[in-house]
């Protein structure tokens, strides 16, 4: 029993049509940065990112997708959504089966100097718009959690919370001559082509999305996530996703963390005041 798939314009829709109810998964391909996160966390391996004509394409297999919604909160740009009876709903997060992530960005508008637009100008995804004195609008959905705006603000008005920690290294000896595909796909513009015609990555601005590893034809990029910052909420779905994104060891450490937090809670609760 598979879902109905429609592709209208830049949107893929997978629909489970019942008689009066409806479950609908949508993927906005225009917003999608073709990173490797959703394809890794999907428990049914229903999502595939592939390279077609030197461009990244994303596909969802309607026979494998079960509309569980694991992918939705993980998408860094909110390109995925599941609607149950025309209302956005995620059963897993509702029942705390997946943890919340820290807030992407918060700007203390009171600290903004007059006529300052540095964050707006420098934001690589154009998520920030300065509307007026002390009036800053942020499109939190497409914000990539990179510290570009944070670094640009001399007044300390911006707090940005990344969620991935890890390492990235480009083995430029593997690069084909003149190839700059990774530069093109990086959403935070963290990779640039140097004057020596070699690409290099500014570690600080890498958000570990994995788009560059997807497109590199020579597998020249070593990108690994070691930790994921997250809030409360847990299930085996989370463990599975975490292991796919990072490593088994990281999952072990995450469990350890969690156990420690719980222990502290229990001690606090049992303290006689």
């Amino acid at each position: 029993m598979s879902l109905e798939k429609t592709e209208i314009g830049e949107q893929i829709a997978l629909r489970l049509p019942l008689y009066v109810n409806e479950v609908l998964l949508t993927l906005d391909k225009k917003t999608c940065i073709k990173c490797d996160i959703c394809s890794k966390v999907c428990p049914k391996e229903a999502i595939k990112v592939s390279v077609v004509d030197k461009k990244l394409e994303i596909e969802i297999d309607k026979d494998k997708c079960v509309l569980c919604g694991v992918c939705v909160p993980f998408c860094p740009v909110g390109a995925l959504d599941i609607q149950i009876d025309k209302q956005s709903k995620n059963i897993l997060t509702l029942h705390e089966g997946l943890p919340t992530f820290p807030e992407k960005i918060s700007i203390d508008e009171k600290k903004c100097p007059e006529d300052c637009r540095k964050c707006e100008e420098l934001c690589p995804v154009k998520a920030i718009k300065v509307r007026g004195p002390n009036k800053v609008e942020v499109n939190k959905t497409i914000c990539m959690r990179c510290p570009v705006c944070l670094d640009s603000c001399e007044d300390g008005a911006i707090i940005v919370n990344p969620i991935f920690f890890g390492s990235i290294k480009i083995n430029t000896d593997k690069c084909p001559e003149g190839c700059d595909l990774c530069v093109q796909v990086c959403p935070t513009k963290a990779i640039e082509m140097g004057e020596d015609k070699k690409v290099s990555v500014k570690d600080r601005y890498c958000v570990f999305c994995g788009a560059c590893t997807n497109i590199c034809p020579e597998k020249a990029i070593d990108m690994g996530r070691t930790r994921v910052l997250h809030g409360e909420g847990f299930s085996s779905a989370w463990n599975f996703a975490l292991e796919k994104l990072t490593s088994a060891r990281s999952v072990y450490l995450d469990q350890d963390d969690r156990a420690r937090k719980r222990l502290v809670e229990l001690i606090e609760e049992s303290r006689v005041v």
């Binding site: 008689y19 694991v70 897993l92």
Partner: protein, 796 residues
């Protein structure tokens, strides 16, 4: 094995039956009787009007006593009808029942040669001569008695299976009820109301299901499938595989806390895919057992259900479990499937959103369904104008379902009346071919329907279109009573779908060795007199597995099957016919073990190849004779169908004008019955054929065929069951192999291979047999003209 004792002199009695005018009007019984008197060893001949009736039977008993008969030949109808009757008569008169031979001069003679009275009478004489020839060589035999375990297997937990299980359990027998779905209930559990009384279906079924679940004599095995069946009546060894439901049945209490937290939403089969369920689910509220199950294929193993379950009932590591059962009888209640309406492309089901099936309608109109019982369309609008299309997938040659599904006429009227109950202003059209109101109360509901203003239009719609503006279905039909072409636009079109055999039916049939008819449903032993038996002793069929039925007939046949099954189980024993294989010449047996490769029942065994002679396990021997025919050293023979006996029949058949004769070896289960059916149906064919009955075509040896040709037979026909339909599983395959080998050898013996035919004829193919004999007779005439079949020079 050969002939009577030296001391005993043969005293054969021959009883010629008129069968009223059935035989008497075509065959001259007096002439046949006169002829019988001339046969050696025949000491008593009499004609009867109806030999099977009590006076006729009394004649036989009297004759046996008064004339000291030691062999009895009755020339009348098919042994498949009355052989057991007459065998009982012999037993009552103190004679061994196997000293009886029946000659078929009705189905195989008077009924098929109605316009050739002289030739038919001559043929009847030949047949009597053949019967007496065999009777001379018959030996007394004893039946084998096997013990019967007082435990049964019921396959299928629909209403028929549940009824059968409850009846058997109430009788005191242990019952194992195996159901493939996680819950019992079947299709009846999906219905809203039953007809004609408009009872709430699940309300009347629910208590039955609970009774099944609670009964101390019923072992309910759900989410399980039949894997294999070995053995025979009284002692079936059954393997069942229980598929894991990943929920511990001893712990789950059906509370449903797991459902809310499961993130995977799927369509619910119980609601015909119209309502959602989760990956962990219970089909419906009244399920028995009330235990959840996980659709592991779709489950993402997030573990949310495990966290939510206070009773720790979820186990994602559950493995399939194999259960071994030993039962005395098996009742097949595997049901049927709704017709797949996408096969009727012209009705647009699956493409047009407001064309639904009657079973989907049943779920929609039901209060526990997707709309809470409101007659809504997919777009949420109320359906005020509804059109019902009858006979979808039934009475339809194009779909391959020629049969009528019986319940749909009244089911539609019931559904229409439900709509009227909800909405008296609704406009309802019923497009019918006939209205079959055969059951009790059916005609009343039909009359009420007409009073309520249901509009009946006689015509089979040719197609359903769609109004693009509002997605209304438009039903295109010719009103055959007014001869006008109509296009009726409705809010909702309901296709009254019939039933078709389940996907697994063939598999079950093969495991149990029970036959399937041309329509794909299981066949009963006799359509009138044995409606729930199968040709395999100890296995019974009921419910819609045998034919489309309404609930009442399903329940009736369920009880009937239980009653039939309780006969051998109650007696605790069962007699197996004594017509088994026997090692007559152990000195000839070289332990080559070829026989063991021919027996599908493991009934003949050679412990050490080349050393120990073959041993026959009589209780397992079904009496097909295949091992006998293939024994290269002629060490084996079959009781009651001995080589000598069959040779005697062949010789007797070909005593006069052999070149005109077609010797036809017909197997008891298929071609003999097929020839009977030709007789019952009065399909006429030429008189050249002389049928010799064997239990299985596998019994027909190369020697028998060569004997027929050596005695001058014009043609020889071996008529097995169709491949994969052999009552003894593989007898027909071995027969074919043997004959293929014989074809290669025939030319060197001066016999044109075209004179030997192997043609498959099933019990349902009376017409095929008729056409075959007509064709072969024509061919024989040609062969005689061309000198391929030589007419021996007469005289001199």
């Amino acid at each position: 094995m050969t002939g009577p004792d030296q001391q005993e002199k043969l005293r054969i009695g021959v009883f010629i039956c008129h069968c009223g005018k059935n035989i008497g009007a075509v065959v001259d019984p007096a002439a046949v009787a006169e002829y019988a008197k001339t046969l050696p060893d025949v000491v008593f001949v009499i004609e009867n009007l109806y030999t099977c009736a009590e006076p006729g039977q009394e004649e036989i008993r009297k004759a046996i006593k008064e004339h000291n008969l030691n062999r009895v030949v009755v020339a009348s109808c098919s042994p498949k009808l009355h052989e057991p009757t007459f065998r009982r008569t012999l037993t009552e008169a103190g004679l061994n029942k196997y000293l009886f031979e029946m000659v078929n001069i009705r189905e195989h003679c008077s009924w098929v040669h109605m316009r050739e009275k002289e030739k038919a009478t001559k043929k009847a004489m030949d047949l009597v001569r053949m019967g007496v020839a065999k009777a001379r060589l018959l030996q007394p035999l004893e039946d084998i008695t096997v013990p019967v375990k007082k435990e049964a297997l019921v396959l299928g937990g629909g209403v028929a299976g549940c009824q059968a299980a409850l009846d058997l359990a109430d009788l005191g027998f242990k019952v194992n009820l195996v159901e493939k779905d996680p819950s019992i209930g079947g299709i009846m559990a999906q219905l809203d109301k039953t007809l004609p009384t408009m009872d709430c279906s699940i309300c009347i079924l629910g208590p039955k299901l609970v009774d099944v679940g609670k009964h101390e004599n019923i072992n309910l095995i759900t989410n399980a499938e039949l894997k294999s069946v070995d053995g025979f009546i009284g002692n079936f060894k059954v393997k069942v595989e229980v598929k894991p439901r990943y929920v511990d049945m001893t712990k789950c209490n059906g509370c449903g806390e797991c459902v809310d937290v499961c993130p995977v939403i799927l369509p619910n089969q119980y609601d015909m895919q119209l309502k959602p369920r989760k990956a962990i689910y219970c089909s419906f509220a009244q399920a028995v057992p009330l235990v959840y199950a996980i659709d592991k294929d779709k489950c993402i193993e997030c573990g949310m259900c495990m966290d939510a379950c206070d009773l720790n009932a979820i186990n994602l590591d559950q493995e399939p479990q194999e259960i071994n059962l030993e039962v005395g009888t098996v009742i097949v209640a595997t049901g049927a499937e709704p017709f797949d309406a996408t096969r009727k492309e012209e009705y647009g089901y699956g493409k047009l959103e407001n064309v639904i099936t009657s079973l989907e309608f049943e779920r929609i109109i039901c209060a526990s369904g997707p709309t809470g019982g409101d007659l809504l369309r997919r777009d949420g609008g109320h359906a005020k104008k509804v059109g019902f299309v009858q006979c979808v997938g039934s009475r339809d040659e194009k779909c391959g379902n020629k049969y009528c599904s019986s319940y749909c006429c009244l089911a539609t009227i019931k559904q229409a009346m439900l709509i009227k109950e909800h909405d008296p202003e609704a406009e309802i059209y019923i497009f019918y071919t006939d209205i079959r109101a055969f059951g009790k109360g059916y005609e009343d509901l039909y009359a009420r329907g007409r009073e309520e203003g249901l509009i009946f239009i006689r015509g089979r719609p040719s197609s359903i279109k769609e109004n693009p503006k509002n997605k209304n279905p438009i039903i295109v039909v010719e009103n055959t009573l007014t001869n006008e072409l109509m296009e009726v636009e409705v809010d909702l079109a309901v296709l009254a779908i019939g039933l078709q055999p389940t996907e697994g039916a063939r598999n079950v049939a093969q495991m149990l060795h029970i036959p399937i008819g041309a329509d794909g449903f299981f066949i009963e032993s006799h359509p009138k007199l044995k409606p729930v038996d199968t040709p395999v002793d100890g296995i019974y069929i009921c419910g819609t597995s045998a034919q489309p039925r309404d609930i009442k007939d399903s329940v009736t046949t369920g009880s009937a099957a239980a009653a039939r099954a309780s006969i051998p189980m109650g007696a605790g024993k069962f007699s197996v016919e004594g017509i088994t294989s026997v090692l007559v010449h152990p000195e000839k047996c070289t332990a080559c073990a070829i026989c063991t490769t021919k027996c599908p029942y493991g009934a003949i065994q050679v412990k050490e190849k080349g050393k120990t002679p073959a041993i026959i396990i009589e209780a397992s021997c079904k009496g097909c004779g295949t091992c006998v025919a293939d024994c290269p050293f002629k060490a084996l023979d079959q009781r009651h169908f001995a080589d000598e006996q069959i040779f005697a029949q062949i010789d007797a058949a070909l005593e006069e004008d052999p070149e005109d004769k077609i010797i036809s070896f017909n197997c008891n289960w298929c071609s003999y019955a097929g020839a009977d059916l030709a007789g019952v149906s009065r399909f006429q064919y030429p008189t050249n054929v002389r049928i010799i009955r064997v239990m299985c075509s596998g019994r027909v040896s190369k020697e028998m065929i060569m004997r027929a040709f050596e005695k001058g037979a014009g043609m020889v026909l071996v008529a097995p069951c169709h491949p994969s339909d052999c009552h003894y599983i593989s007898g027909n395959l071995h027969a074919k192999n043997r004959i293929d080998q014989l074809y290669k050898v025939l030319p060197s013996k001066g016999i044109d291979p075209r004179r030997l035919r192997l043609e498959y004829v099933s019990a349902a193919e009376g017409l095929v047999y008729q056409r075959l004999i007509k064709e072969m007779t024509e061919q024989l005439e040609e062969f005689k003209k061309q000198g391929i079949v030589k007419t021996p020079v007469k005289g001199g």
